[in-house]
């Protein structure tokens, strides 16, 4: 099976075409094809993962001289020497051009095995959920076709053995994201959100493209991931090239994984149907950036010199994202937006974890986060299914009694996200903090701890507003059908147990054994579990919950602070406007590019010329009555009128340049080119 993993993306890809062409004529409108295909992919992925585990165990047993029994417990080896487990690569020639042979293929190692299990599992559950959730939708068949295409593309991305194929998958998942955010495109905000998501991630993709090109030439004309990793570690590539490549790739990661400052698309992406948010914008697509970093870790490791400790761009981006997104989650009234900001914040943890050298921890967090965040999103979808709204303040509250299953699973998800022992989030987040502390990134450990407390507090607020208090909506909410609650319980179960795959204090590090590459991988540290840190983290999370609970449940604390205190109000306004980042992007940057000349001319008119005019006016007043007739009436007025006319004409002339006529612009373009050419000719 390890050689044949190409089948796994192929199945949903075929399903995409089947649904598209025959789906409408089937009794369940194509949903059955999607569910069966992704189910088949899931089974194949599980078989693949099992075989991979077997392979790692065998390799390890060989090192230990067969001292341990093969199988599940055989891998539980405290402090065993690490055996090299070679990834399984299979390639075919994709195309060749001008002597360059480009290969396509699959690369299966622990990381991709883990990813395909996560992708197919969450996708399968989302498919099941959507059968009920999307029932009666006007584009039900298209929805399932796009879900299938997404699953296929994501699997292609995580299994690819070269950067070019990875890029194809990367753009395909972006396309699916665009289609699914704009699923209900008849409403303007939805299609706007889809465009915004597409264009913002595309901004980052420029970096990705440049980065891939740099690395292609830097690593000796190859797209092969393992070769690149070996070249980066082997010192065959100069530090500067690696730094440039890593910085460019980081830009792609920032776009795709919603990191500061390009995170603004992710909350808007919540315009799509909720299952899409769970699958694409929480569990899988947005972690593509994190996956890319994990995949090319040697490049980032050497490029940013992660081993040195202290500070590096990746950790910085992640750390900033953790805190600012968590703070923003407090002022959202839309339950999905709370979860969206929470996702951004958690992605920040992952990027930060990779930035501080905690590879296993970050990837483990990716793994656990996929389950509990998908659970939370699907839970919010279940709630909105009942109350037909996403607004926590006006339409929810008191749903605890009406929707017991949703409530319980949502609570489990929230506790897992908050990092309460022994749920999944506790283990993975703790490891990131541990790694930050042990690798010389103490500041980021503190950032992570603060982020943890904030996470716990905003999730308390979210749970309170949704499930406690009085019901504020209309009608009689009722529990969702079994097709919706079933996936919720499965995910809730995973959110409870997934963390134990790497419960280091109990001597379990299965996840590390199975997933961490042993081939072409930098020497990352494996810090010992620290009880004080875990206690502090848990206490801070509990404090966060306590603060939230005190504020909302017991009505303690400074209620109405924003009405009374000007600074609190300003802070709230700043958060409410999302730090004005959207204003910055659309207003300042786009605006200044649109009309810099006109703006500059306007500024000159307003300040300089008016200033001259004003000064002249004031001066003439003071000169006295007797000059009034002679100077003021004639000279100054002349200047005033003259300068006003001049200003008007300058503005008019500059405005004339913005004619909107293509040929005017063309003349300027060609003329400027000619002048530029002339300059070069003269200079050289």
């Amino acid at each position: 099976m390890l050689e044949q993993v190409w089948v796994i993306p192929l199945v949903p890809a075929i399903s995409f075409f089947l649904i598209l062409f025959v789906g409408k004529h089937l009794p369940r409108k194509g949903a059955e094809i999607g569910v069966v295909a992704v189910g088949a992919s899931l089974v194949l992925s599980l078989v693949t993962a099992a075989q991979w585990i077997h392979r790692t165990n065998e390799a390890r047993d060989a090192v230990d001289g067969g001292g341990h029994a093969a199988g599940f417990l055989g891998a539980v080896l405290a402090g065993a020497e690490y055996a090299v487990v070679e990834p399984v690569v299979r390639t075919v020639t994709w195309w060749q051009s001008g002597g360059e042979v480009i290969e396509a293929g699959t690369l299966l190692d622990g990381l991709s095995a883990m990813m395909i299990v996560v992708v197919t599992l969450v996708s399968f559950l989302v498919h099941l959920y959507s059968v009920s959730y999307m029932e009666g939708d006007r584009r039900f068949t298209h929805f399932f076709a796009a879900l299938s295409l997404f699953t296929a593309s994501m699997l292609l991305l995580v299994l690819s053995n070269n950067l070019l194929q990875l890029l194809v998958g990367w753009e395909l998942v972006g396309l699916c994201s665009f289609m699914l955010i704009g699923h209900w495109w008849e409403e303007k905000p939805n299609s706007d959100a889809a465009l915004k998501a597409f264009l913002t991630t595309r901004t980052g993709d420029i970096g990705l493209l440049v980065g891939i090109a740099v690395i292609f030439f830097g690593a000796g004309r190859t797209f092969d991931i393992l070769e690149i990793n070996q070249a980066a570690l082997g010192g065959g590539v100069s530090d500067l090239v690696l730094l440039v490549a890593a910085s460019c790739l980081l830009l792609g990661v920032i776009g795709k994984s919603g990191q500061f400052p390009l995170h603004t698309w992710l909350p808007d992406a919540m315009a799509g149907p909720t299952p899409v948010s769970a699958l694409i914008h929480a569990a899988t697509m947005v972690v593509a950036g994190v996956f890319l970093v994990a995949r090319l870790y040697p490049v980032f490791w050497e490029g940013f010199d992660i081993a040195a400790g202290g500070l590096n761009p990746m950790a910085l981006v992640g750390g900033i994202t953790v805190v600012i997104a968590a703070v923003l989650a407090f002022v959202q009234n839309d339950i999905k937006k709370v979860l969206a900001y929470s996702t951004i914040s958690q992605l920040g943890y992952m990027v930060m974890g990779l930035g501080v050298g905690a590879w296993v921890a970050a990837v483990f967090h990716l793994f656990t986060h996929a389950f509990f965040k998908a659970l939370l999103f699907l839970g919010s979808g279940s709630v909105s299914h009942a109350v037909h709204s996403f607004d926590m303040k006006s339409d929810m509250g008191g749903l605890r009694e009406h929707m017991p299953h949703t409530y319980r699973t949502f609570l489990i998800g929230s506790l897992a996200l908050a990092g309460i022992f022994p749920l999944a989030g506790f283990w993975s987040k703790d490891e990131i903090l541990l790694g930050a502390g042990a690798n010389g990134y103490e500041a980021f450990m503190v950032v992570g701890l603060i982020g943890g407390a904030l996470t716990a507090a905003y999730m308390t607020r979210c749970v309170y507003l949704t499930f406690f208090g009085e019901y504020r909506g209309h009608g009689h909410p009722h529990e969702s059908p079994a097709l919706i609650t079933g996936p919720l319980w499965v995910l809730a179960g995973l959110a409870v147990v997934a963390g134990f795959l790497n419960a280091v204090p109990f001597g379990i590090h299965l996840f590390t054994d199975w997933v961490e590459p042993t081939f072409a991988f930098p020497p990352v540290a494996h810090p010992e579990f620290s009880v004080p840190l875990a206690v502090v983290a848990t206490l801070l999370a509990l404090a966060g919950i306590g603060a939230g609970a005190g504020y909302y449940f017991r009505n303690l604390g400074p209620h109405g602070l924003t009405e009374r205190n000007v600074w609190a109000r300003r802070g709230h306004t700043l958060l409410w406007n999302r730090y004005y980042l959207d204003h910055l992007y659309t207003g300042v940057i786009v605006g200044s590019i649109k009309g810099p000349v006109a703006r500059a001319a306007n500024w000159v008119n307003q300040r300089v010329i008016d200033g001259v005019v004003n000064a002249a006016g004031v001066g003439s007043r003071q000169a006295g009555q007797w000059v009034y007739d002679k100077i003021d009436q004639r000279v100054v007025d002349g200047i005033v009128n003259g300068s006003a006319t001049g200003a008007g004409e300058t503005g008019g002339f500059l405005r004339r340049m913005q004619t909107g006529r293509v040929q005017n612009y063309g003349a300027l373009l060609f003329g400027a080119t000619a002048v530029l050419g002339l300059t070069l000719v003269i200079l050289i």
Partner: protein
């Protein structure tokens, strides 16, 4: 023959094309001027190919062929746009299309 004979002729055609693109009102005439520009490029490619000789001459022909194919595609879409313009505005005057006026 001098290489420059061909290159300067191509440059002249190119500049005539640029003039046509900038100064013509009629959308179809603008497209024709673009064809002049593209032809100048093809002449350049073939002339350089003949100068280098050998395999390069063959490669130049291949490239020129691709340019012709792209030019055909460009005319197809360009004329479709002009047609669309005509249908919506009853005029193919490109100066009328100034929705982006500042």
């Amino acid at each position: 023959m001098l290489l420059n004979q061909f290159l300067i002729l191509a440059a002249v055609l190119f500049c005539i094309g640029v003039y046509g693109v900038l100064a013509r009102r009629n959308g179809v005439l603008v497209l024709m001027s673009i064809e002049l520009i593209l032809n100048a490029v093809i002449i350049n490619l073939i002339a350089f190919g003949a100068m280098l000789g050998g395999e390069s001459a063959v490669v130049a022909s291949v490239f020129a062929l691709f340019v012709i194919a792209v030019a055909a595609a460009e005319v197809g879409v360009g004329l479709a746009i002009v047609l669309m313009l005509y249908r919506n505005r009853q005029s193919i005057d490109v100066s009328d299309v100034d929705l982006m006026r500042g």
